[in-house]
Amino acid sequence: MPNIHSSGPPDLSPAHSVPLLPDGRVLLDASQIDRMIRRMAHEILEKNQGVKDLYLIGILKGGGVLAERLVRIVRSIESVDVPFGTVDITLYRDDLSSKSSPPFLKESALPEPVDRKRIVLVDDVLFTGRSVRSALDLLMDLGRPSRVQLAVLIDRGHRELPIRADFVGKNIPTGQDETVQVVLDPGRECVVVTRKD
């Protein structure tokens, strides 16, 4: 993994990515995903008029790898390293007390304070909007960003909160009973929709 920040880049080892290649309806392949991420990177730069104060933060697990890819593309376009970090939103989830046991935490890594930054929150799939709500609350506890935007690879609908993305790779209409899995491991990239049993 490229070392983007000397003050400790997020560890995006395979443990943080999707463990298995799912079987189901393959909607997007590697080259389609790559083009989508490139377009999103350009859109982020266009909307923010460059890289000034830009700070990409991936929501673990899915958003970490995507944020890293976006940062890499931004670097190839602008020849500048944009800071990027990852956050584990488990502690801010609204469904913790309805689960039987809370999970061990994943390590967040934020190389810089969020104050006065233009934050782009990054996640792989936007669904109910509850993860994004958790991430927003976490961000506000961390400091006072000047602006927060949201970038997602897949928007699958079914929002339960008034949240919308600023940058979307692709809108994919889904049923409530389906799951969308985004695999960004090099060589096996795909977006797969499976029906829950």
Partner: protein, 314 residues
């Protein structure tokens, strides 16, 4: 496996090595909290933690209190000298009353071994052992191992000498179990009177000579001489104990050059630990206090942030 299976933390034996690593990883995430604008997370909002301490304690009780508050729990401290216990209320009545008041978790310290376990079978809330008699002090062992891991970068393959009053030490008992579980080789160093004769399944070498015992060790853990437990009767004199078993800069020459010195506190200065300034860079004693809050946050969060125990946490 990505969560704890046990609803209570009563002994180190409740945990697998994987669960211990999970606790360390979780504790690590909590350490960042003290550098944030808002030093709280909402995970235990609306839950109540009761600290029930039948023995004096400053750091363990305060550490649990800070940990619970940073998780947004409400905390009630009961020190038995100011409670109905002095009116003769039984232990079980006290705990049942606390539970009826709506506690979700009880952190208990008691002079009798096995009390937390006994209570856990009789109440519906989560029970955390904060030290019971001569039995165990699991969160202390967890924070000791976490400190070692943070300072040394690993646990497996290290050599640790535990020095002093092993016989009366629940800290030692929890640590010996936890260290064996994590692949650390353990030495016990102390006068013959303070090392238990029956060491059961402990996989530990025994030394009576301090310099020999700590030679080539990565970590030296000095234990507190528990003067309130009449430990003085087991040694000829405090002065003699300090001479033969006190950790000082010159004694540490026998250990590895990068040796880490730990002490669970409170320290009898001049007895177990002498001239700490002289080995300041080797001391992990304040780290232990700092990391202890992270460990206790992790334990409280992992046990209590989920649904009620009755809903399948067990």
């Amino acid at each position: 496996m990505d969560a704890l299976r046990t609803p209570h933390l009563l002994t180190v034996s409740d945990l697998t090595p994987g669960e211990m690593e999970g606790i360390f990883r979780t504790a690590d995430s909590f350490l960042d909290l003290s550098s944030r604008t808002v030093k709280k997370v909402p995970s235990l909002r609306g839950k109540t933690v009761v600290n029930l301490f039948y023995e004096p304690s400053t750091r363990t009780r305060t550490s649990f209190e800070i940990a619970a508050k940073r998780l947004s729990a409400d905390v009630i401290n009961i020190t038995t000298s100011q409670s109905s216990v002095v009116k003769g209320e039984s232990l079980l009545d006290t705990v049942r009353t606390i539970e009826a008041l709506g506690a979700d978790g009880v952190v208990i310290r008691h002079p009798a071994s096995g009390v937390p376990e006994w209570i856990s079978r009789r109440v519906g809330c989560h029970v955390i052992n904060a030290g019971d008699g001569l039995h165990e002090h699991p969160t202390q062992a967890l924070l000791d191992l976490f400190t070692i891991q943070k300072r040394k970068g690993r646990l497996k393959g290290l050599r640790v000498a535990i020095v002093g009053d092993i016989l009366h030490s629940r800290v030692a008992r929890s640590n010996i179990r936890a260290m064996s579980l994590m692949g650390i080789s353990v030495r016990l160093v102390g006068p013959p009177t303070l090392i238990p004769k029956d060491r059961g399944d402990w996989n530990a070498e025994v030394f009576h000579d301090l310099r020999e015992g700590i030679s080539d060790c990565d970590v030296v853990m000095a234990l507190r001489l528990q003067l309130e437990r009449a430990t003085a009767n087991y040694i000829p004199s405090l002065k003699e104990y300090a001479k033969f078993y006190g950790i000082s800069p010159s004694v540490l020459q026998s250990a590895r050059p990068d040796v880490l010195v730990l002490h669970p506190g409170p320290i009898n200065r001049g007895i177990e630990i002498q001239d700490e300034e002289g080995f300041r860079e080797h001391s992990g004693i304040l780290d232990q206090v700092h990391f202890g809050v992270g460990i206790r946050m992790a334990v409280l969060y992992l046990l209590m942030a989920g649904g009620n125990k009755g809903e399948g946490n067990a």
